[in-house]
Subunit: 201 residues, 2 copies
């Protein structure tokens, strides 16, 4: 898979200028590159509107980071009063924990994911975090209403207005490498209103 955009909403303090930060970003970049579908090293999607599910997409990404020593699916609490919830991948740096969320849920979940990273930094539970989500162009071929970069971007100003002097919040938009009408559709689960769709048969 390829990276369409990479933007830092906040990039302040010693960690953001460290070699460790560069390594973190490099590992994330490589992990994204190895996300594939229907071909060995490329993500080729069948361009059916709302036709592809999202569950298996991030598998290779997670596996790559795990091999690099990241902890995956760790349950942690990023704010007082919050019960622990799973985070896709975290890396322990000497400046603190860095968290990465590959978001394939509803667009509103992307708001929660960014909020969580913001709160985690404010509370000093993490030193930074990244949200990875599809471009709008990519998301059109996925489950309806999954998060996409263009739709969340008008809210970036909110995070840029938070008083954080030591931390990193980044957003990465990812996209398929190629279209392929012969590629199998990514299977869908039966969550949410999926059953209603099944009524058509």
């Amino acid at each position: 898979m390829k990276i369409a955009t990479e933007l830092f909403l906040i990039k302040e303090g010693v960690f953001s200028h460290s070699a460790e930060f560069l390594i973190v970003m490099n590992e994330v970049n490589e992990a994204i590159k190895c996300v594939s579908w229907n071909e060995k090293d490329k993500f080729c999607i069948n361009p059916v509107q709302k036709g592809n599910g999202v569950v298996p997409i991030k598998n290779n990404f997670i596996k790559y980071l795990k091999d690099k020593g990241w902890k995956t699916e760790t349950r942690m609490t990023l704010a007082l009063g919050m019960n622990p919830g799973p985070i896709d991948a975290i890396k322990e740096t000497s400046f603190g924990i860095f968290a990465v969320e590959w978001e394939t849920g509803n667009i509103s979940s992307s708001h929660r994911a960014l909020n969580k990273i913001g709160v985690g930094i404010l509370q000093k539970e993490i030193i930074g975090g990244l949200l990875i989500l599809p471009t709008k162009k990519f998301s059109k071929f996925l489950t309806d209403r999954v998060g996409n970069y263009e739709e969340i971007s008008p809210y970036f100003i909110l995070y840029q207005s938070i008083n954080i002097i030591d931390g990193v919040i980044g957003v990465i938009a990812v996209e398929y490498d190629d279209l392929d009408k012969e590629a199998p559709l990514i299977p869908k689960g039966k969550d949410g209103n999926a059953k209603k769709g099944m009524l058509l048969f």
Copy 2:
């Protein structure tokens, strides 16, 4: 329906000290009081876990505010790059527009609702906003995973950390007045429970 908690995350500037602000809050309080189910002036819910739908709940609330001169379901843009989306109710004050969202969607939607109010104030599109949502105790009897006050509250610090010197962000937790095992379940979706039964075949 009754108010369980009322909290202001931000309450700064001239509007927050004005008589108009008091009127706005008073109208919202009265509007909440007239939300009922199964009795004329009380909200009596059948205490079945995840048993009640949410769609009709806010009807009386919206109607009350409409009668008081508020505009309802107005589509507005609260940030650059955002397409207009409907807002439950807005009141035009001499300090700017005040927006109210009665949130009955997924908890992650509550994050978006607060984010939207925050961005709207930062961009000077509105002077303030309120998020109204059920207490956890109430939400247990509603559709699974609807927003609830307790679950969003750990994120409040995020909004309190934004640099806003003129604006209001408030959150109100609402709750049923009484339990009533004879009360009809609030229908889900358009066809209520009938559709759910049909799915079994």
